[in-house]
């Protein structure tokens, strides 16, 4: 592979940590998606208006904690998965791959936080 011994060990550690991060974020996502869907179904069934929803979420620490966790999990989970696809399908590697992964994480985090800003 043309890598020095130290580099190989390093890559091994990076992949192992990413795997752990993806599993942990997937666990959070499973819970968050379930709660999120339940809330959507409840709100539409009860015919709760947008204003009423905002009235409940504005300034709510529970809403902030929940959607903050949701957004963090997405910003962690999705870039890791797409990183694998970029590597296999487009053949990206090295700094380009890691920068693209981090850029996507930052983008998702920014979009998610903006959405939370509109809700909480």
């Amino acid at each position: 592979m043309g890598l020095a011994a130290g580099q190989t060990v390093n890559a091994a550690r990076v992949e192992a940590w990413l795997w752990i991060a993806q599993r942990l974020s997937a666990l959070l996502l499973a819970a968050c998606v379930a709660v999120h869907l339940a809330v959507i179904i409840y709100a539409t069934r009860q015919g709760v208006s947008a204003a009423a929803i905002l009235g409940r979420t504005r300034g709510s620490p529970v809403a902030l904690a929940f959607y903050g966790t949701f957004v963090a999990a997405i910003a962690m989970h999705v870039p890791i998965g797409l990183r694998a696809i970029l590597r296999e399908s487009i053949g990206w590697s090295g700094a380009r791959l890691e920068l693209a992964t981090i850029a996507l994480a930052v983008l998702l985090l920014a979009l998610g936080l903006r959405a939370i800003g509109g809700l909480v």
Partner: protein, 246 residues
């Protein structure tokens, strides 16, 4: 059991066999159809009776040596134990060299990259430095022994390796067989190379490249489950990295 393969009136099977290197092509041969005929029998007939320059590989003919794997009607298979009646139900038979390995000539591939990866995955027993005073007792019912048993019957045929898309996309990827072998050794309580082996199989060319779609599992002629072994390696390397051992 009766062989119920469709055959034409003359009892002749038309077979297409790959000739030449990577840029070669299929050539057509007519082979007498026989009861209980295997794909290897067909290839052997062509080489013995029609064209002695046909190159192919086999040894045991009974599914033990792992040398006879080829692409049969688009899928990797061990040819000595693949009956024509099973794969050529529509009367069509095309035999080509295994995918994901360099073609030497005709049906022969260079297996060196495949076995080099077993070496890279530390796929050999690493004895402890200090001399052992007694036999190691390994209980057959212990969890580790059972995990090792589940993967131990690999015959090194490279069928799984040819079936794995990731090997095709990432040529450095160690692949299902080498990783399965590493997992049997990780579960060998007598082995002293665990940390070294886990470091060798982790990373983007190792177990973490696998997506668990189980192409290897569905093709392995020994019904092994490399995907499960690779999942075990992912867990083991995660714990090793948490303990600072990676």
């Amino acid at each position: 059991m009766q062989d119920t393969a469709p055959r034409d009136a003359s009892g002749v099977l038309a077979v297409e066999i790959w000739r030449g290197g990577t840029d070669g092509g299929f050539a057509r041969y007519e082979v007498p159809r026989r009861a209980n005929q295997t794909v290897l029998d067909v290839v052997t007939h062509v080489q013995r009776q029609i064209d002695p320059t046909l190159a192919y590989r086999f040894a045991c003919r009974v599914g033990m040596c792992g040398s006879c794997a080829m692409t049969v009607n688009g899928r990797p298979r061990w040819t000595c134990r693949t009956h024509v009646s099973k794969v050529a139900a529509d009367g069509r038979l095309a035999v080509a060299p295994l995918a994901n390995l360099p073609v030497v000539r005709d049906l022969v591939v260079d297996m060196a990259p495949f076995f080099d990866k077993w070496a890279r995955a530390e796929g050999r027993f690493i004895p402890p430095q200090e001399p052992q005073s007694d036999f190691a007792v390994v209980k057959p019912a212990s969890a580790k022994r059972r995990a090792a048993d589940a993967g131990i019957e690999c015959i090194g045929c490279a069928v799984c390796y040819a079936a794995c898309d990731i090997v095709g996309w990432l040529p450095d990827y160690l692949g299902p067989a080498a990783l399965n072998r590493a997992w049997t050794l990780v579960n060998d309580v007598r082995d002293a190379g665990r940390d070294r082996r886990l470091a060798a199989v982790a990373g983007d060319a190792g177990c973490h490249a696998c997506h668990s779609q189980q192409g290897c599992v569905s093709h392995c002629p020994k019904q092994l489950n490399p995907t499960e072994s690779i999942a075990g390696l992912k867990r083991a390397t995660a714990w090793a990295s948490l303990r600072g051992k990676l």
